[in-house]
Amino acid sequence: MKTIFEKSVAGREGCWPCEGMAEEAYIPKELLRDGDVGLPSASELDVVRHFTRLSQRNFGVDGNFYPLGSCTMKYNPKFTEVVAAMPGFTRLHPVLPQLRGAGGLCQGALEVMYETESLLCEITGMSAFTLHPMAGAHGELTGVMLMAAYHKDRGNKKTKVIVPDSAHGTNPASAAIAGFDVVSVESKDGIVDPAALAEVLDDEVAGMMMTCPNTLGLFEKNLPEIVKMLRKVDALLYYDGANLNAIMGKMRVGDVGFDIVHLNLHKTFATPHGGGGPGSGPVGVSEKVAPFLPISRVAKREDGRYFLDYDQPKSIGYVAPFYGNFGVYLKAYAYILRLGGKGLTRATENAVLAANYMRKRLCDHFEVPYNRICMHEFVASASEQAKKGVHALDFAKGLLDKGYHAPTVYFPLIVPEAIMIEPTETENKETLDQFCDDLIELAGLVDSNPEALTSAPVTLPVTRLDETKAARSMELTDDL
């Protein structure tokens, strides 16, 4: 499909933002640019058709089942968009509450922040939350910065952060970017092994980053022991909230001893992922870490009015220009209000039920390396099929032809030919059954017609794309 730049016709008028076309006389000529910008000239209908056509070349949850492990692609209810589009929220300038006399002009927005933080505290069992981090990985970085600030304040000399081998790649990256050395610890039988942890744990460890359930979909049942071990060396325990959908209402990470936690609101609390963002990655902390949270903190006066507190002498400072992705956590807030405590627990129960149901239906057709009760996702492996030349990637592409987004493949790295499936609580049983039937049918093709898999997809706008060529030719813009 042609790009919008190729469709441009010089001189064609688009949508005027206003009348008038003032002179450029206000700015001296030597400070102005030479020539045109090179943006498209198209009519409004040209633009509407172009982007409507583009959208039709895309899978989204509204049209396709998205069983992407670790990504929690549940249905995003529509009413939250109505909330986020209310002019009372969208038109608020973020500097407003920082002006003397203007706090009264944004009490509603500040209340949303205050209430959302309170709800997240109760859901996770943490003492305090900041909504500032703008994505999950941003929350991780904020969390590790908090770790550094905590130890610095106590005069601890800490240089290392422990990350299990089953962790998301962002965990070690965040720890490294915050200035720590990363130490990996191997899993045993799919979960963190206290004996292996003991070997790498010493006084220089600032903290450990854990995901529970982990990326194999397994519950880390040694948690209480791990917490005790870390306490002994004054190391903090960090919780990667990517998989919170599996435990809401069943366990609170604060109660079991985590000191820092980030949540991916777009996953657990159903805010649309938008093809890659924006997300929101709030960070919760235990009492001893709270003084280090980013500036500002929203607080409530005795008269019930909300204000931003900038007097935080031990704070790590600004991680965002303002208060995070307000428009995103506003949707999460509305979603939590809609479900309530029972609804959140029910979501967790059904997410776990669906994953175990699919695991059971598929485990006779694919190897499932840890074939026991799982949480909200499980990892199958195409290693048997790979011996016959059909790989996890081929199954992924075969599923695209059937109208599903593919599961996560080749992750976690510790399972060869991994196919990681997460159905979420919002898919009905017919969809789960049909997906299993279709995947089993694809497995049957490995012997009868492997070509049908290795040449998939054939029903989409393009067939398999040459990624090597893209990296070599580096065509990154539409140069005419």
């Binding site: 790009t3 688009g14 933002p17 206003c18 076309m21 700015i27 400070l31 910008v37 943006l39 498209p40 000239s41 633009v47 959208s55 989204g60 949850v61 549940k74 968009e81 109505v82 909330v83 608020l92 973020p94 500097v95 203007a102 002009l105 509603g108 709800l119 069992g125 703008m134 910065m145 070690p172 990256a173 990363v182 209402g249 069943k250 366990m251 109660d255 649309p272 963002g277 980013p294 965002a320 220009p321 992705n325 307000f326 428009g327 995103v328 506003l330 809609r338 405590g341 979501a347 175990n356 593919a406 919002t426 989409l460 067939t463 040459d466 990296a471 030719s473 990154l476 813009t477 539409d478």
Partner: protein, 444 residues
């Protein structure tokens, strides 16, 4: 229960297939000592009740006030087509495009976005965006540190102070040193910046127009930086870039911007859009997603995420950045916004905004005791000094639903009387007239 489709019969069938007696059996590994000490979340509400509650909260915000607040974040007009197109579920409810064949819509849109922002800034390459203008600046700084393996950074004090504070926070645990060159009456001190350059400097960081609205040509500064092999980084205001000499034409190595003014509502601080562009020579240092054009097995054009070897899911702790996702939907909004306005529309928005600001400056400085702080050329934002403390004037006018601007004293000692005023094409001449009269009254 909302959004869970299973009937009781279906739940029973699924439990039977799994071979357990109850849903609770699935959670047996979470032993009693790990169960919640409380879970005191109110009962759920109906959709109607939630909307009504949130309408009430929205109504507690005064959004009908007239505002001249900018400080890097501007209220430009957004064509209706932007919402209509970007709210399509195929875009809105999609994931990061890991399966390119099923994500050509998202991928081609990012490719077009990369094209649009590189043209706007006159640069060669762009990524698919990062969180906001501040994190874009921080990532640019880290690119320079990796590239040069040096640890000193020269920063202009006329750079948005919010971003300067962010840079300090992000790097507090790293072995880096900042050299801040003070502004000169609101102007970027180009000579001072040049003097601070030597072969120990990783990067020089400036902004155009600067925080006070003053427009610069940094060509000489960037040439001086190139001479000592320091990386030139500029933070630009994208709407004005439709008119201004580009970072590329000035010789910048990296140009970043806050993309909020390209089709994103102010929305109390987010979500916003961090635009990152650079020269070809810097591309492998660039963090985040990048989309490239390629072909499929039939020779047809298609798009994929590319240069992923820099990223954390492959390089883990050795990745260029921990940034995993981007602001894809915000980038899409910016692209649709630029396309809907088109070449002529965006120039029109920029020119009218500049004109309104100049009319406003003239009206305000005709008031006795009000003088221009911003000297020389400025765009749609400028600073004035008042005969009294700006905080007081702002408080007085804001109580009457009129927000006159940003108090410079919040970040700059000695500028307690300074007021930063922004206009856009949405600012009417009538509003400017009222502003001038109110200010005149307040100063009497």
């Amino acid at each position: 229960m909302p959004f869970v489709p299973h009937t009781e019969d279906e739940v029973r069938e699924m439990l039977a297939a799994i071979g357990v007696g109850s849903v609770e059996d699935l959670f047996a590994e979470i032993t009693q000592d790990m169960r919640p000490k409380s879970f005191d979340i109110p009962d759920g509400l109906s959709e109607m009740e939630v909307l009504s509650k949130l309408e009430g909260l929205a109504a507690k915000n005064a959004t009908n006030s007239v505002s001249f607040l900018g400080a890097g974040f501007y209220d430009h007009y957004i064509p209706a087509a932007v919402d209509a197109l970007t709210m399509r579920g195929e875009f809105y409810t999609a994931y990061t495009p890991y399966q390119p064949e099923a994500s050509q819509g998202t991928l081609q849109a990012i490719f077009e976005y990369q094209t649009a922002v590189t043209r706007l800034l006159g640069m060669e390459c762009a990524n698919a965006s990062v969180y906001d203008g501040g994190t874009a600046l921080y990532e640019a700084l880290m690119m320079a540190v990796r590239k040069t393996k040096r640890r000193k950074i020269v920063v202009s004090e006329a750079l948005n102070p919010i971003y300067r504070v962010m840079l300090g926070s992000y790097t507090s645990n790293l072995d880096l040193e900042f050299v801040t060159v003070p502004h000169k009456d609101g102007r970027t001190d180009v000579e001072g910046l040049k003097a601070a350059l030597d072969d120990s400097i990783a990067a020089v960081l400036v902004q155009n127009p600067n925080f006070f609205g003053s427009i610069n040509d940094f060509t000489e500064l960037f040439a001086a930086a190139a001479k000592v092999k320091a990386v030139s980084v500029v933070s630009a205001y994208p709407v004005l870039q439709a008119l201004l000499k580009t970072p590329g034409a000035m010789g910048a190595d990296i140009a970043v911007a806050e993309g909020q003014s390209l089709g994103l509502p102010l929305s109390f601080g987010g979500p916003y859009l961090g635009i990152m562009t650079c020269t070809k020579a810097m591309i492998r240092q660039m963090p985040g997603r990048i989309v490239g054009r390629t072909t499929d097995t039939e020779g047809r054009t298609g798009y994929v995420l590319t240069l992923q070897a820099r990223e954390q899911h492959i390089r883990r702790q050795k990745a260029t950045s921990n940034i995993c996702s981007n602001q894809s939907l915000c980038a899409l909004r910016a692209l649709v916004h630029m396309c809907a306005l088109g070449e002529l529309g965006i120039k029109r928005a920029a020119r009218v905004s500049v004109e309104r600001a100049h009319i406003c400056a003239e009206r305000l400085t005709s008031i006795p005791g009000v003088d221009m702080l911003t000297k020389g050329a400025f765009g749609n934002e400028f600073a004035v000094t008042l005969p009294v403390n700006a905080f007081e004037v702002i408080a007085k006018l804001t109580e009457r639903g009129f927000v006159p601007g940003f108090p410079l004293g919040r970040y700059f000692d000695g500028l307690e009387n300074g007021l930063l005023v922004a206009c856009t094409e949405k600012t009417s001449e009538e509003q400017i007239g009222i502003f001038a009269e109110m200010l005149r009254g307040a100063l009497k």
